[in-house]
Amino acid sequence: MASSWTALYLAYSIVWLGVFGYLTYLLLRQKRIARDIKSLKEEVARHGKSGS
């Protein structure tokens, strides 16, 4: 019975880790993309100024 409970909690851990791990990945990825977009936009703006 003890191993059954262990298996149960192992399976639940897989679910929680999978879901929240992926959510964390999404949030971190979105932050990084937002940062990259911001810096690229600044670069484009700088190039625009120096070009004009």
């Binding site: 399976a11 999404l26 979105q30 937002a34 690229l40 670069e43």
Partner: protein, 372 residues
């Protein structure tokens, strides 16, 4: 309401519902009764699995005093579950006369335990009605399908004496009823992956018709989430299978293999996208792949339902004639399915949003690269 706020609200709702599901699964949903079929029950007859059973000698054929050697192999007699249901109904009605069991043998090699018998100093022993038997064994040969219940033992003994141990329905063969609670997360994960791959199909068709990249983003995002939830389902299933079947995986089980193929196909879909740089080509090829790859979804979904044709031991509980869920278990799985569906919707909104940002980033990179 903007999509970001909607996504946050849906995530919060689904998180609460998943917590509720966890509580219901552990404390509210009852353990499956061992004499009634439920997810995970009576499937421990698979070759290679270990089985633990016990009972009493209730009938000795030919003679009431048999002299036997302790057998190394016992043959367990099993009965189809459909017969068992009829038997339960007849027992409730008070008339159990007639034949109820379609008896088929499986061979079990004894690992430990056996008959409690009177032994002489020499090799002979005596068994009689009331002798106890408790065996931990390993199934070495299976000649029955799934959904069967052990109704008694026949000992394969020398001198052709036939000994029946136990009575119909007297044995508990569900080796891990607690592990059955994995079902409340395993099944909704699988359900969401099917929904996700269906959305990928629809969005792929819409992309090919309209060439609008918003459908490509939706198809890709949904496929990625489908792979996530299919991975959860594929990872949690073997945890239960090890407890109930004694093995993590069966390559001869149609449900398991078709689900694995579906998972690989959508891994391929994501890999293909990652390997292509041209956005137009990537979207077109992915859409065709997303349509063709969908054929694996109904293969996986339906394989357990047509198990008699395609050999699967995977439990098929919902929407089947023999499936039986208690109201508490039904409520728990209902909440779980709603929770996972809302969670999927929230994640899909977020993933599409990020895909849009990724496209903007790629566009900016092209502009900067062009200027340099």
């Amino acid at each position: 309401m903007n999509t970001r706020r909607l996504g946050l609200i849906l995530t919060a709702i689904s998180a609460v519902l998943i917590l509720v599901t966890t509580y219901l699964a552990i404390f509210f949903a009852p353990l499956p009764a061992t004499s009634v079929k439920s997810a995970g029950q009576i499937l421990s007859t698979i070759e290679g699995s270990e089985i633990s059973v016990s009972g009493f000698v209730t009938n000795l054929n030919i003679t009431l005093r048999a002299i036997v050697d302790i057998p190394n192999i016992i043959i367990l007699s099993l009965a189809d579950f459909s017969d068992y249901q009829r038997y339960v109904q007849a027992a409730d009605a008070g008339d159990t006369s007639g034949t109820w069991w379609t008896v088929r043998p499986i061979d079990v090699r004894i690992l430990s335990g056996g008959l409690t018998i009177d032994r002489d100093p020499d090799i002979t022993s005596e068994i009689h009605n009331g002798s106890n038997m408790s065996v931990l064994g390993k199934v070495v040969h299976e000649s029955i399908g799934p959904n069967s219940a052990i109704v008694g033992y026949s000992l394969d003994v020398p001198r052709s004496r036939d000994v029946t141990i136990g009575a119909p329905g007297a044995f508990s063969v569900m080796t891990a009823p607690v592990a059955q609670k994995i079902f409340y997360f395993h099944m909704p994960s699988a359900w969401v992956s099917y929904v996700a791959f269906f959305i990928t199909l629809v969005a792929s068709i819409l992309y090919l018709r309209s060439r609008d990249f918003k459908y490509d983003r939706l198809a890709m995002s949904s496929a990625e989430l489908g792979v996530l939830f299919a991975t959860i389902a594929i990872a949690t299933g073997p945890v239960w299978a090890k407890q109930e079947w004694g093995v993590y995986w069966r390559w001869d089980d149609t449900k398991l293999v078709t689900t694995f193929i579906m998972w690989l196909v959508y891994i391929g879909y994501l890999s293909l996208r990652a390997a292509m740089a041209d956005p137009g080509l990537k979207a077109r090829v992915s859409a065709v792949y997303g349509i063709l790859g969908f054929v694996t979804m109904p293969m996986s979904l339906l394989s357990a339902r047509i198990a008699p044709l395609l050999r699967s031991s995977h439990p098929e509980v919902i929407a089947s004639k023999s499936g039986s869920l208690s109201p508490e278990a039904g409520m728990t799985i209902g909440v779980a399915v709603i929770a996972f569906t809302i969670l999927f919707a929230a994640m899909l909104i977020k993933r599409v949003e990020i895909a849009q940002d990724e496209e903007e980033l790629e566009e900016l990179k092209r502009i900067v690269g062009g200027e340099e």
